[in-house]
Symmetry: C2
C-alpha cells in the first residue's frame, strides 16, 4: 500500500541538494536579455515613443514598442479553452499597450546582449503621454463620467451579476426579523512565491519554444499562439521545477511577450526575468473586495434572508475577472442556509488603474469567508449566543446537495472538524477563561468555518490525460499535463500509480517536466484539482496498463515451453506446470495468482523484459488515456486561532492556530500537513500583514518590494497545527478532494474573531495592522 | 501526397543556421570534466597504479582506477537484448581494465574541474605493467602458444563457424572443372564522423541520466545499467542531434564509464569528450578481413562450387564480433549461385591487440563484396568473357528465395540497375575504347554488384514503437525510439506520417530528441532499418490515430446541435444537415466524406479543438503502438566507376562513378541521393585511401589523426551520380527497403575492376595506395 503513507517527497533530494533545475538554471548562457519599459503614468495614452538614442547603444539588438505589436486581443486567465465565445475569459490584452491602464503598464521592450545594456536602453527611451485621471477605487470607477478603461466595458464594469434565490423580497418583509449589516474590506495582496517570474524562448524549425515557470503549460501554449496569431501547434511550452505559484502562474504572464521577443530577433534565445518590483506591479494580485452583508434573523436564531453585495477590484486587465468574484458568492450561498432559501447576491467586477488581479490560492474565498465568518460571529455575539452553536443552527446541513455542482455534504464533516479543533485549542476552557479581561494585553480565541470546491466542473471542463511506460526492470514512468509546483503532486502521483499497479512507489518515476509537445494534455495546477482530476487520470491509465501487463503475463505463461525455458534460467520463478490460466494480479512488483497473492509466478521486471524482447510478440507496454471528470466535491474545514492583543501597540500575536480539514483520504499525511501549514501562514499574512499601498494621485504602487510589503516571518508564526478528518470522497478513485487552496481560506476570520473575543472590537477590515488597530481601539475607548 | 517528394529536410534550418543543439551545446557550464588514462602497452597486465601525486593536484575531484570498478561483465554491441544467453553479444567488457588488451586500453579515469586539470592529473599517474608479446594479426593470434587475450576464448577465437551447402565435397571433385583462387585483404578503417564521441551525465533522484551522441539510446540505457549493475529503469539516456554515426555509435562507447564517473562524484554533472586521437584508438573500427575465395567452374560458365574463408580481425574486445563476419558470408552465399548450391563458408573472428572492431556502414559487406566482385571479375577476365555476362550467368535469379530470411528477389532489379548504370557510364563504348591502351596514364571502367538486407530479422527481433499526439491546430507530434543521425530519417518520418494521416508534412512535428524515459521503444539507427521498421510503426500508429480522429468526427458530426452551433461560428464549415453518418476520411488536413473528397465537413484543427474542449466527451487524441516486423527485404544495386591510373605515380583518379539502387519506393528522392553520395564517398575512401597503420612492435596506432589517416577530400571525388529503380517492396507499408548502408558496399570493387581494365593488374588488397600500386605495377612490369 503506497497511498496513505508519509513517504518522502520524490523530489526531496533534488531540491534539498540544490540540484533541481529551475527555469533560470536551464537558460542558455548565450541568451539575449529582454526587458520591459513600463509606463510612468497610471491612466492615459502613449502619444509617441522615441527609441533613436536607445537603438544606437552598444549591445542593443532590438526595440519593440506598442506601435509595433500585432493586434490580436487575447485572454490570459489559466482556464481550459472553450469553443463557445460566450464562455471566453476577457480578451482585453495586447502584447504591449498604447492605452496605458495602470502605473507600470507594458509599453515597449528592449532586447539586448545583457541585462546592463537592456536597462541602459530602457532609460534612453523617451515617451510622451496623454494623461487621464487616476481611478483606484471600484466605487469611483463605476460612476457616470469616470474615464473608461476598456472600450467594451461601460462604467468600467467587466461584469456584474445578481443571483436571487427563493422569495427574497418577500422574506425580508416578514415581521419581527432582527436585522444585521456589516461592511467588510479586504486588501490587494500578492502570492510572494520565491522564484521570480521568468522564462526564456527561442525558435526551432519555425516554431516557438518557451521554457517558463508556469502552473499551466498547455494553457500557456494556447495563449502564446493566440497572442501572436499562430497555429497552436507552432508553440511549445516547457515547464521545469518552479519555485511556487499560488495562482500567479495560473495566468499567461510574460510568456507571450517573451515569444514575441525571440520572433523579433529571428529565433535567437531571449531570457525575460522580472525583478521583484516588477512581479509586484506587473503580474497578478489578490482582488481587493468590499463586501456588504445583510442578514434578517428570525427569533429562533435561523436566517430568514441574507444578502451579499461585493465590489471586486479587477485592476487594469480582465485576467480571471468575474470568476473570482463569483466564487465568493457560492460560499455565501452554500455555507449558511436560510429557512426558505431566501437570499440575494450581487457582485461587480470593476476595472480600475491598479495592478491586475488574478487567481490567488483560495480564488476569492478567503475574502468572502472573512466577511461571512466575521458577520456570523458578530450576529452571535450580539445575540449572546455561542458562536459555534449559532453557526451549526444555520450551517449547510448534512445531506445538502448543491444543484449546480452536484456537490453533496455526505458526512458530518463540519462537526467532526470543529470537534477536532475545539479539542486541540481547548475551546470551552479558553472561551471561558478569556471572557472578562482588562489591562493592556488581552487574549482571545476565535473560529471560522469554510467549504471549498474541488476542481472546476461544471463551470469549465475538467480533463486530464496520463501516459504510463513500463520499463524492463518493472518500474514505470508516468507523465501528465498536471504540474508539480512545489505542492508535492509528483509524490502523490507516484503513490497513486503505485497503489493501483501493485508496485512500490520507488518504482514510479514521475516525469516532472511538462513539455507540451510530449506531455499528455492536462490543464495544470490550479483549483485544487491535481489529486482529484489528475488522480482520476492516473487511476484510469494505471488500470489500462495493468490490464495490458496481465494480458501479456497470461500470454507468456500459457506459452508453456517459453515459460519453462525462462523459468529454468531464473530459478526463483514458479513452475508454469501449475499454471492453469488462472486470473492474475500484481502485488509488490510480482505477477501473482489473483486468488493467492503469495503464489509468485514471476517478477514484473522479468515479464516486461520477456515481453519487450519476445521474438513472437514483442510489445513496449505503455498506456495513455484521457479522463474527463464530471463531478465536484466539497472540501470542508475550520480554523481555530488563539491570539494575544497588545492594545497600546495595536499588535496581534497569534499564540496558537489549528486548521482542521476533511479533504477526503490523505494520499500523504506529511505532505498534506505541509500544505495546511503553508496555507495557514498565508492566512496570517492576509489577516494581519499584507496589503498593496498606492499613491492615490499617481496610482503608483508604493510598497512593491519585500522591505515595504510585509509578509509574516517565522517569528510571526505560532506552531501551526493541522488536523484531518478522512471521510473518503466517493467521486474520487483515491477518495481525495481539495486541499491545495482550502488551508488559506478560514484563518483571517478566525484571527479576527479571536481579536473580537479579546477586545470586544469587531475589526471589519484586513490586514489588521497596528495603524488600523490603533484607531479602532481608540474609537472603542480602549486606549 | 507527401511520400515521394523531395521536400526540404525538417531540420535544415536548424542545422544550416548553426542552431541545432548537439550534446556539447547542452552540457551545463559547471560540468566537471572526465578524462581517461590509456595504457601505454598493447598486451599485458596492470600491476599497480599510483595516483598519490595526481590526487594532490588542485582541481582534481576523483580518480578511479581499474582496481576500483565493479566487476559486471557487459556487452557493448548495439543489438536488441534477448533473454536467451545463447544469443548474447560477447560480455567481455569492464568499465576499466587490469588486463590490458590493446595500446590505449582504459585503465583509469580522472574527474576534475576542467580539462586542463584532468590532463595534468593523467600525466601524474604512475602505472606499472607486466608486458606480453603483441599480436596484431588474426592468423598469428590463433596459433597454439599465442598469448590468450580473453579467458573464455582459447586460441583467441571469439567465434568460428562453418556453413556447408549442397554436396560441396562431391561437387569440387567433378571432372573438368576450372579452378580459380584469390586472396583478398581489406584494411582497418574508421567512420570519421564529424562530431566527436561525447556525453555528459548526472544523477537525479538516485537515477543516472546520460546525454550522449549515440545511435541507440534505448540500447545504451540497458548497457549502462548492465555495466553498473543497476536496474534498467534507473538509467535514462537522452540523445540530441548528432554529427554522424555510421555505426560507431551503434555501440555503447563511453556512456557506461561516464555514468560511473557521475556516480563516483555523488551525481554532479561530468562531461566526457574524446579527442580525435582517442576516437581513432578507443572507439570502434571496420574489421580488417582476409578472405580466401575458391571457385570451381563448369565449361558452361556456371559455378559448380565455391568456397569462402575469412579471418575477421576483432581487435581487443568482442563488440559486434562474429555478426560482422557472418554478414559477409551471407553475401557470398546469396549473390552468386552454383548449379547445385554447392558451397562452403568458414569464418573466424579473432581477438588481437588492435583497436576494437564494431559496426561500420555496410557491416562487413563492403569487405566481402570487394573480395567477391574482384574474384568474379578476375574469372571473367581469365575466361575472356564479358564481366556482366559472366555475372548474370551466375547471379541470384529472379524469384530466388532465401530460406533463412525469407527474402525474395521479386523483380529483375539487378538487370534494371545495371542497365541504368551502363547507360550512364557509357559502358559498352568505354569498355571498347579502353581495351588496348599504352603509355603511363590509362583509363578503365569497372563494375560491382551487391545486395543488402533491410533490418535484422530473423537474426534479432525487429521492433519499433511510435506515439502520435494531435494538436489543436490539426498538426501532430510523432515520437519514436528510432533516431535522426544526420541521415534524414526525421524528414522521411514526417512524410510517411503525413501521407497516412492525410495532412501536410509541414504539420508533422517530429520530436527529434530521444529520451528513454519518454520516447517509445525503438532499437535505434542501424541496419538500414529506419524507414522499414520505423516506417511500419509510423504506419500503424497513424492508422490508429486516424481511426480515433474519424471516430471523434463521427461523434461530433452526429451531435447535430453541437455541430450546427459550431458550424454557425465557423462559416467555412459544411452543413451537417447533409451529413447522414457516411464514412469519413482526412484529406489535406480536412475531414471529408470518404466517397467525395471534395466535400469538406470541417478542418482537422476544428475537430481537434472541439474534441479536446468538449464538455460531453473531452479527449486528447493520441495513439501509441508497437510494430514488430517479421520480414526482411533485399536491397539491390551496383556501382560503375571510371578511373584514370597514373602508372609511375601509382595514383588512381576516379573520373566518374554511378551507384544504381533498387531500395524500393523513394520517400524523398533528394535525401536518397544524399545517402548514396555519402556512401560512394566512403567507398572511395575504402578503396583508395583509408587504413589504420600499427607499429608492429608496440601495437601503437601510428596514424590515428586526420593528418595521417587520409580520407578523400572533395578534390578526390568525381561528380557522384545516384540512380534509382523503384520496385515497391511489398513487405513495407511505404514500399521502401534499405538505403542507409548499401551505397557504401560496391564502390571499392568497382574502382578496383576499373583499375584492372586500365592496367591489366588485379589488385587484391585495399586501399590501393601509391605504395601498393607502385610495387604491384613494378611486379607486373608496367613501370
Amino acid at each position: 500500500m503506497s497511498v496513505g503513507k508519509s513517504i518522502p517527497r520524490v523530489d526531496a533530494w533534488e531540491k534539498v541538494s540544490g540540484r533541481a533545475k529551475y527555469t533560470e538554471d536551464l537558460a542558455p548562457a548565450n541568451a539575449l536579455v529582454g526587458k520591459v519599459l513600463h509606463s510612468s503614468i497610471a491612466n492615459g495614452l502613449v502619444k509617441s515613443i522615441d527609441t533613436k538614442e536607445a537603438e544606437k547603444m552598444s549591445g542593443v539588438i532590438k526595440i519593440i514598442t506598442c506601435f509595433d505589436v500585432p493586434d490580436y486581443p487575447y485572454p490570459t486567465a489559466g482556464h481550459p479553452w472553450t469553443t463557445d465565445p460566450a464562455h471566453w475569459d476577457p480578451m482585453d490584452r495586447r502584447l504591449l499597450n498604447k492605452r496605458v491602464r495602470f502605473y507600470g503598464d507594458d509599453i515597449a521592450a528592449v532586447i539586448a546582449v545583457d541585462a546592463v545594456c537592456a536597462a541602459r536602453a530602457l532609460k534612453a527611451i523617451k515617451v510622451e503621454y496623454d494623461e487621464y485621471p487616476v481611478i483606484l477605487d471600484p466605487e469611483e470607477a463605476i460612476k457616470e463620467g469616470a474615464v473608461q478603461l476598456h472600450e467594451e466595458s461601460p462604467r468600467n464594469i467587466l461584469k456584474q451579476t445578481c443571483v436571487i434565490d427563493g422569495n427574497f423580497e418577500e422574506a425580508i418583509k416578514e415581521e419581527g426579523l432582527a436585522f444585521f449589516e456589516g461592511v467588510y474590506e479586504t486588501p490587494i495582496g500578492q502570492h510572494c512565491h520565491l522564484e521570480s517570474v521568468v522564462s526564456f524562448a527561442w525558435m526551432e524549425s519555425g516554431r516557438i519554444v518557451v521554457v517558463a515557470a508556469t502552473q499551466i503549460p498547455h494553457i500557456v501554449r494556447r495563449i502564446v499562439a493566440q497572442a501572436l496569431g499562430l497555429p497552436w501547434g507552432k508553440v511549445r511550452i516547457i515547464k521545469p521545477y518552479i519555485g511556487g505559484g499560488f495562482g500567479n502562474r495560473q495566468d499567461a504572464l510574460y510568456e507571450p511577450l517573451n515569444a514575441l521577443m525571440t520572433q523579433a530577433v529571428g529565433g535567437r534565445p531571449v531570457k525575460l526575468e522580472l525583478s521583484r518590483e516588477e512581479v509586484f506591479s506587473n503580474t497578478r494580485t489578490r482582488h481587493s473586495k468590499k463586501i456588504i452583508l445583510k442578514s434578517w434573523l428570525k427569533s429562533n436564531g435561523r436566517f430568514a434572508a441574507r444578502s451579499y453585495t461585493a465590489y471586486s477590484n479587477q485592476g487594469a486587465y480582465g485576467s480571471h475577472g468575474h470568476g473570482v468574484a463569483a466564487k465568493g458568492t457560492s460560499v455565501f450561498r452554500e455555507l449558511y442556509r436560510e429557512e426558505k432559501d431566501a437570499r440575494k447576491a450581487e457582485i461587480f467586477t470593476v476595472y480600475t488603474n491598479v495592478a491586475v488581479a488574478g487567481a490567488l490560492r483560495g480564488y476569492g474565498t478567503p475574502q468572502a469567508v472573512f466577511a461571512i465568518e466575521s458577520h456570523v460571529e458578530d450576529i452571535a455575539r450580539k445575540l449572546g449566543m455561542d458562536p459555534l452553536e449559532f453557526r451549526f443552527l444555520n450551517l449547510m446541513p448534512v445531506g445538502f446537495v448543491d444543484k449546480f455542482s452536484g456537490n453533496v455534504n455526505r458526512f458530518d464533516s463540519f462537526r467532526q472538524c470543529v470537534e477536532l479543533g475545539k479539542d486541540y485549542i481547548k475551546w470551552d476552557e479558553k472561551r471561558e477563561r478569556y471572557k472578562d479581561q482588562s489591562g493592556p494585553v488581552r487574549r482571545g480565541v476565535g473560529v471560522s468555518l469554510f467549504w471549498y470546491n474541488t476542481a472546476v466542473w461544471p463551470i469549465s471542463i475538467e480533463v486530464s490525460a496520463c501516459r504510463m511506460v513500463l520499463n524492463q526492470d518493472g518500474s514505470i514512468q508516468i507523465m501528465l499535463g498536471e504540474c508539480e509546483i512545489g505542492q508535492g503532486s509528483d509524490t502523490a502521483f507516484a503513490q497513486m500509480a503505485a497503489e493501483t499497479l501493485g508496485i512500490r512507489w520507488q518504482d514510479v518515476h514521475v516525469v516532472s517536466v511538462q513539455d507540451t509537445d510530449i506531455s499528455p494534455f492536462g490543464t495544470g495546477a490550479y483549483a485544487s484539482r491535481q489529486t482529484y482530476v489528475g488522480g482520476t487520470a492516473i487511476h484510469k491509465a494505471a488500470l489500462m496498463l495493468k490490464e495490458k501487463i496481465l494480458n501479456a503475463a497470461q500470454d507468456f505463461m500459457q506459452q508453456k515451453e517459453t515459460f519453462d525455458k525462462a523459468a529454468q534460467r531464473e530459478k526463483s520463478w514458479g513452475d508454469s506446470g501449475e499454471f492453469r490460466g488462472e486470473s492474475l494480479d500484481i502485488v509488490d512488483g510480482n505477477i501473482v495468482l489473483e486468488k493467492n497473492h503469495k503464489r509468485v509466478l514471476m517478477s514484473l521486471a522479468s515479464l516486461a523484459t520477456e515481453t519487450l524482447y519476445s521474438a513472437e510478440n514483442s510489445q513496449h507496454i505503455t498506456s495513455e488515456t484521457t479522463a474527463q471528470v464530471k463531478s465536484n466535491a466539497y472540501s470542508f474545514g475550520c480554523c481555530f486561532a488563539e491570539v494575544e492583543v497588545d492594545l497600546p501597540l495595536g499588535k496581534i500575536k497569534v499564540l496558537d492556530m489549528v486548521n482542521c480539514h476533511d479533504c477526503g483520504k490523505l494520499i500523504n499525511p506529511l505532505l498534506a500537513a505541509g500544505q495546511v501549514h503553508g496555507g495557514m501562514s498565508m492566512a496570517i499574512g492576509l489577516g494581519i500583514y499584507e496589503q498593496f499601498i498606492y499613491d492615490s494621485k499617481t496610482g503608483k504602487l508604493l510598497n512593491g518590494n519585500f522591505l515595504d510589503y510585509k509578509i509574516p516571518t517565522i517569528l510571526d508564526h505560532p506552531r501551526l497545527e493541522a488536523r484531518f478528518v478522512e471521510n473518503p470522497e466517493p467521486t474520487s478513485p483515491y477518495g481525495t478532494k481539495a486541499l491545495g487552496e482550502p488551508p488559506t481560506v478560514p484563518g483571517a476570520a478566525a484571527i479576527r474573531n479571536a481579536v473580537l473575543q479579546a477586545t470586544g472590537v469587531a475589526i471589519n477590515k484586513i490586514p489588521m495592522t497596528p495603524h488600523l488597530l490603533f484607531s479602532e481601539f481608540k474609537a472603542a475607548g480602549l486606549i
